[in-house]
Symmetry: C2
Subunit: 416 residues, 2 copies
């Protein structure tokens, strides 16, 4: 057991060197071959997935968990199409930026290169196995995948299919590695693998992410926990605010860029709250409010300290009346997770103040927080949304899986 | 004791919010005021430094350590000039890049923002206290400084002078914090301060850096260990190779971008080795060679496995004869630390292969590794040289102390 992680990490490291300079043509052919193999071996994937589902049912997994675990023809087709989409994206590797000539004649540029070996630790959705492998391969990185135990059979079958197809298309062996040990110890081992894994990306619930962030001694990119706010300014177009609030809360409540708290300026609270309350009630959204909110909406529950900090990921929302923009910004600073924050306003200075002072991956004026997403931002596919500050912030596409090296062209220059 | 680190980190965090939007004018005025205060209170700094020096002498610090610890009028002037230079650098904060308009009309851009709170852990040179504070302030970050115990009196006096001058010039109180506890426990505490410190930068010897890299659970930027190589290709201009080798090894042997190993193509070894050997002998450089090298230079010591891995930081160099470029690249991959690597060649394809395949912060063709430096690269001052891949690689100037946030301007867009 113990040996598996280190052994696979070593193989990934060995593959990384050749992967870094693999041609775009070979990488794209491999992605297309992986798609084709997935389609061709759909029956094997469905059979493996059925094993996971039946064990999950026996073990009493929730309906939501089983739904995330489920693969069907449509979802396998979506995975294959995802691979084909990644093949179409431009290859970031080898591009050079900001080449300058120094006074001594040295030409210095920054070349985009892969990170090396990327570890992905994720939960039940088996499609992550394919998405992560595709993005890492296209960006020239080796990947070590560590999925959840619920999906282990699905993941093993998928990884075997795609890594075999990749190797046959000319990708170095070892480029795509799946850890098959479902033991927690494997994650602990990954978090200490200096010299083998260049970065770990946890994808999943807040518990998993915090475990990795707080225990890993190798670099981590923290993803995805979103306690997102919408501030309705006194100058807001209230019907716009209402549409953005409804979209943010109800269009897909279980995702990280969904709204969790509305902050309403006291000058518009009496007008806005009854409107939004009716809209939320019609859509089955449970509301919890501050004392001022409850003087206007007396029938809702009182929001506790816990509500302000909570990422509900459900049809529940917290409502707070604030005196001014400063109070809204302070509330966001205290409870926000640095994901997506929105102001709805018609006031130019307030828009500027909000975008300058709120510190988050994405700060919006007059648009839904639901747009925080790689494809919506025009990055193509995404491997996750970074909520940390180091390396990259917000949706991570291919470029965010790379780093730079300085390349210097001289004619014999030495330093005085 | 225990309380100091957390208390100062809290104060730094409180300051960071206001610092992030502080005007360039106030930051520059503060830097100039800090320079002026240092000059004015030179006698206090020298007196504190004398305390450190006399304790150091009593405790038997090495000559090299005492030399690094020493401050004099010239060095204090250099620190003040450093502050004035940073005031002249462009302020990176608030710049927006790659603003695009999406098909739905959203305008999405990336705004450069500070990292937040930066922790610097460093060794005996007291000038780091000033340099680090200046770069962090100009880039809108709060800083927590933790210098070595040998320099504690110098650091306390310098930090008091510059932070007082900064506060008087309008910088939020708490922006510049020095940990006065010399206890190792303080470093351990810093390495766990999630939610307070956004990134730790260790500056110093390999031991300090490895301790921080391997134990910190908050993000780290690894700096500076350089086992740098020069490969002399068979097509090299040998007098150029000789000049670059001498410059790399002898111009300043104790720094991280100095050369530690020469790899010489077997086709030119008989011609090149006697020349370079004579030049090294004249400059007091001790050589250690592989068996093939010793057939040509029989009087030098044999290089052991340890020599290939060692950052001498001294007038010692390892010499190895290699069959071809591939062997050179493999040697660098095995023993290099990802700092600076050089090829001397007149062969276009070899130059391309070396720059594409060698993975390091700086990869040179026909120039000295000694150029890996913020000011030589045109970044202005530097806070260190990153040898890790995440976030940034190579010399780190003001921009490297920042991150981005996405700012999105809408007209009421919601997601379908």
């Amino acid at each position: 057991m113990q040996g598996e992680v280190k052994e696979k990490a070593q193989r990934a490291k060995d593959a990384a060197h050749a992967l870094a300079t693999l041609s775009t043509a070979v990488k794209n052919q491999a992605l297309l071959a992986m798609a084709q193999a997935l389609r061709k071996r759909q029956a094997d994937v469905l059979a493996a997935n059925e094993e996971d589902l039946s064990r999950g049912r026996k073990e009493g997994l929730s309906k939501a968990m089983l739904e995330r675990l489920l693969l069907n023809e449509e979802r396998i087709t979506a995975m294959a199409e995802g691979l084909e989409d990644v093949a179409k994206l431009p290859d970031p590797i080898g591009n050079m930026t900001s080449v300058t000539r120094r006074p001594n004649g040295l030409q210095i540029g920054k070349m985009r290169v892969p990170l090396g070996v990327i570890g992905i630790i994720y939960e039940s959705r088996p499609n992550v196995t394919v998405d992560a492998a595709a993005l890492c391969l296209k960006s020239g990185n080796a990947v070590i995948l560590r999925g959840g135990s619920e999906a282990i059979n699905s993941n093993i079958t998928i990884a075997e299919i795609i890594s075999q197809a990749a190797t046959q298309a000319g990708v170095p062996e070892g480029a795509i590695q799946l850890i098959t040990t479902t033991d927690r110890e494997a994650v602990n081992e990954m978090m200490q693998l200096h010299g083998y894994i260049d970065v770990l990306i946890p994808r999943g619930g807040a518990g998993l992410i915090q475990t990795v962030v707080r225990n890993s001694t190798i670099p981590v990119i923290e993803t995805g926990v979103g306690n997102c706010h919408l501030y309705v300014d006194e100058s807001a177009n209230l019907s716009m605010a209402k549409a953005i609030a409804i979209n943010g809360k109800t269009q897909r409540p279980a995702v990280c860029n969904a709204l969790e708290t509305l902050l309403i300026n006291a000058r518009v609270a009496e007008n806005f709250l009854p409107q939004i309350s009716q809209a939320f009630q019609e859509r089955g959204v449970e509301m919890r409010g501050c004392p001022k909110t409850r003087t206007i909406l007396p029938n809702i529950l009182e929001a506790t300290e816990e509500d302000w900090a909570k990422e509900y990921l459900d049809l529940v929302i917290a409502l707070k009346v604030v005196e001014n923009l400063e109070e809204a910004i302070n509330h966001i600073r205290r409870y926000g997770t640095g994901h997506s924050e929105v102001i709805v306003t018609e006031d130019y200075s307030k828009a500027l103040q909000f975008t300058n002072q709120v510190d988050a991956a994405a700060v919006y004026v007059n648009a839904s927080s639901r747009f925080t997403d790689g494809s919506q931002f025009g990055l193509g596919a995404e491997i996750g949304i970074s909520t940390q500050k180091l390396h990259t912030r917000g949706p991570m596409g291919l470029e965010e899986l790379t780093t730079n090296k300085f390349v210097i062209y001289g004619q014999g220059q030495i330093r005085d």
